[in-house]
């Protein structure tokens, strides 16, 4: 892929050298507000909380920061069952119990049963890392509160070994949320917040060009036209977003679709509409044709 430099317009040189580190990376288009939010969160040592519609690149932002600053990325994917403690360390009692009965290793050394979690790994890493806490709202309501102290102090205590883990370098923390649950106020107060808006057509064009530097102008224009039209249909349960558009354009270019067909026929519409009902709504009602293939052809690949 060609490297497309992201141009920074209208930025002033600032007295502070620590500031203004993140300038976007080759494959991620960040607007000025987002770059500012990232850089302030780095400079003020506060976690950055990112919210936005699914598919607008919340998770990719952390990858881009890591890439842009040349730092290692540690990803902590949050599930509904994740506990805050798991991010710090896990004391593998079952292994120790097992060893005490059947094993031959020295079980008096508790250290070997302490397994560091993602946050623990980020703290102990010899160089500064980017820590992504992905989809923080998936976990229990109290989860963010349980991490407050650790994120503030950047240290935690392991009572089993009587050790205190202090961050060697303060990791750059990026937290994403889909707003499925309200986050606690105490947690929010400590964060820098950024809401990724849905890109307007111009910015979208910029984003697409980053991913497809060689794309033909008329294909891109027709694709964007169709895409923004689709987004205006309110009946869809899930409106297509950036991630789906990129998939779609990939399918269009791979399939060698000419630009005249794009708006008229909307081929491979299954890459844009992921819900079966949306797909059938679109194909039967909007395009006035019977769905091709049998009902299992959700992704419309048989066109």
């Amino acid at each position: 892929m060609n490297i497309v430099q992201i141009t920074i317009i209208g930025r002033l040189t600032l007295p502070n050298n620590d500031f203004d580190q993140f300038m976007g990376s080759a494959d991620y288009v960040a607007d000025e507000a987002l770059r500012n939010a990232v850089n302030v969160s780095i400079a003020l040592k506060r976690p950055l909380l990112v919210r936005g519609e699914p598919g607008t690149g919340k998770t990719l932002l952390a990858h881009s920061i890591a890439k842009g600053l040349g730092k290692r990325l540690i990803v902590w994917n949050i599930k509904s069952t994740t506990k805050a403690q798991e991010g710090l360390y896990v004391y593998d009692t079952v292994q120790r119990l097992n060893d005490s009965r059947f094993g031959d290793s020295d079980i008096s050394d508790i250290k070997q049963y302490i397994k560091l979690g993602k946050l623990g790994q980020a703290f102990t890493s010899p160089e500064q890392v980017v820590l992504l806490i992905d989809e923080v709202d998936k976990a229990d309501l109290e989860f963010p509160n349980d991490l407050l102290n650790e994120l503030d102090e950047m240290s935690f205590h392991i009572p089993e070994t009587n050790e205190t883990m202090v961050a060697v370098h303060r990791p750059i923390v990026v937290i994403t949320s889909n707003a499925e649950k309200e986050l606690p106020d105490a947690f929010l107060r400590r964060c820098i917040f950024h809401f990724i808006e849905f890109p307007d057509p111009n910015r979208m064009e910029e984003i697409i060009r980053v991913h497809f530097p060689d794309i033909q102008n008329n294909l891109l224009r027709e694709a964007l036209k169709a895409f923004y039209l689709l987004r205006e249909i309110d009946e869809f349960r899930k409106k297509p977003s950036t991630a789906e558009l990129i998939d779609w354009i990939r399918a269009l270019t791979a399939g060698g679709i000419s630009h005249e067909q794009v708006f008229k026929e909307v081929p491979f519409v299954g890459t844009l509409l992921k819900k079966e009902t949306d797909y059938y709504h679109f194909v039967t009602r909007r395009m006035g044709r019977r769905p091709s293939g049998n009902r299992t052809d959700v992704y419309g690949m048989l066109h």
Partner: protein, 389 residues
């Protein structure tokens, strides 16, 4: 510094705290903010923690910083706006007709003339050109990002962004979408341990194992599940037609919510009488009496309706608006029986509280705690339903 801005945000009900304000001051003192644009974005990133408050932030920002930036030429923005044919699509037919009678140059001359006039007449207040929808520039309401010509705040940049108020649609006190309703409803939960014992109870296991002198003994427990059962009663009477969209959104959100143990829904016209409708188009009826017998008092009840009707529809025998309904018992009695049978009931009213000063609305709100059908109101209603009795 800017302390009044802090209070401007407070008055606009943006939840800002001293902690966040101090963070902003830290950012300022370290020289991270060099112009008003940066102040706008960074202030927002640091002070506001939800897109629901971005609009209030915008309002407070333009109030506080109005007139600070150097003037820039507005006609150019207007030119762009007028040139772009897409913007015309947002106009009504009548407005479009006015547009079509003038060519672009005429339009521009007209605009400049009016702008000049306004400078003389209104120095100070912000003013939308041709507000009211009669002039060619009177499309103020039709386009959410429509250009606002400020009498004194001519700045581009931050203030202009704030003036666009493009986050209006995210305000939680104004609009609702299915996803937001889902989020609100998801808070309606009551976890209790049910089902087979299939979760390892670690504490118990350790205890039992220790008592067993180290011989491992596994203990199991039931998983925690949501036990909320919901009964949704929705008014589909004539006066509810303007609110059909928000009601159907509420319904689809509740319906697609899989975490309720049970969801029952019925419809009624204006008021509840002997029977409720399971299917409004096919007029499938269910007797209300039967419903009260079959559903336990632990069902949480959400009634949706404007509670607005002729007083006799609520209080009189045979008062029902539909002749064939011939109710032997006045509606108020039925409502009372529902409110007494179920321990947790709320009423969501899609009309603004401003209009609630109506005899039947007042009577019904005495029986059912009434909340406005907005995200905030829904949140309060859910809190009310979660209260333990």
């Amino acid at each position: 510094m800017f302390a009044d801005f802090f209070y401007a945000l407070k008055t606009r009900k943006v939840p800002v705290s001293i902690t966040e304000w101090m963070t902003l001051m830290e950012a300022l003192s370290k020289g991270f903010i060099s112009n008003l644009d940066e102040f706008y974005y960074l202030g927002r990133a640091i002070l506001v923690k939800s897109e629901a408050y971005f609009d209030q932030y915008d309002v407070a920002f333009q109030e506080y910083f109005r007139g600070i930036e150097a003037p820039a030429d507005i006609p150019e923005q207007v030119l762009d706006w007028l040139k772009d044919p897409i913007n015309r699509m947002t106009l009504t037919e009548a407005e479009k007709a006015i547009f079509d009678t003038m060519n672009f140059d005429e339009l521009l001359r007209e605009f400049e003339k009016r702008l000049a006039e306004q400078k003389e007449q209104h120095d100070g207040g912000s003013y939308w050109i041709g507000r009211g929808g009669t002039g060619p520039f009177g499309h103020s309401g039709s386009h959410p990002a429509g250009i606002r010509i400020g009498g004194e705040s001519k700045g581009r940049g931050a203030i202009q962004i704030a003036q666009q108020r493009k986050f209006l649609n995210y305000r939680s006190d104004l609009t609702l979408d299915v996803r937001q309703i889902k989020t609100a409803l998801r808070r309606l939960r009551q976890l209790s341990r049910t089902g087979p014992e299939d979760e390892l109870d670690l504490e118990e296991t350790i205890d039992a194992t220790a008592k067993n002198a180290g011989e491992v003994e596994l203990c199991w427990t039931r998983t925690r599940k949501n036990t909320v059962k919901l009964l949704l009663l929705m008014d589909v009477g004539g006066s509810m037609v303007p609110h059909a969209k928000v009601c159907s959104q509420l319904f689809s959100a509740a319906h697609s919510q899989s975490h309720f143990k049970d969801l029952q829904y019925y419809y009624f016209h204006n008021c509840i009488y002997e029977s409720l409708f399971r299917d409004i188009e096919r007029q499938v009826e269910v007797s209300t009496e039967n419903l009260l017998h079959t559903l336990g008092p632990d069902y949480k009840v959400i009634c949706v309706g404007d509670a607005r009707m002729a007083i006799q529809e609520l209080t009189e025998k045979y008062g029902a608006i539909y002749y064939y309904q011939r109710n032997e018992t006045p509606g108020i009695i039925w409502l009372k029986r529902i409110a007494e049978h179920f321990t947790h009931c709320v009423w969501l009213n899609p009309e603004e509280p401003y209009y609630w000063n109506h005899p039947t609305v007042l009577v019904i709100s005495k029986l059912f705690p009434m909340f406005e059908l907005t995200l905030d109101g829904l949140g309060e209603a859910v809190n009310r339903l979660n209260v333990k009795r």
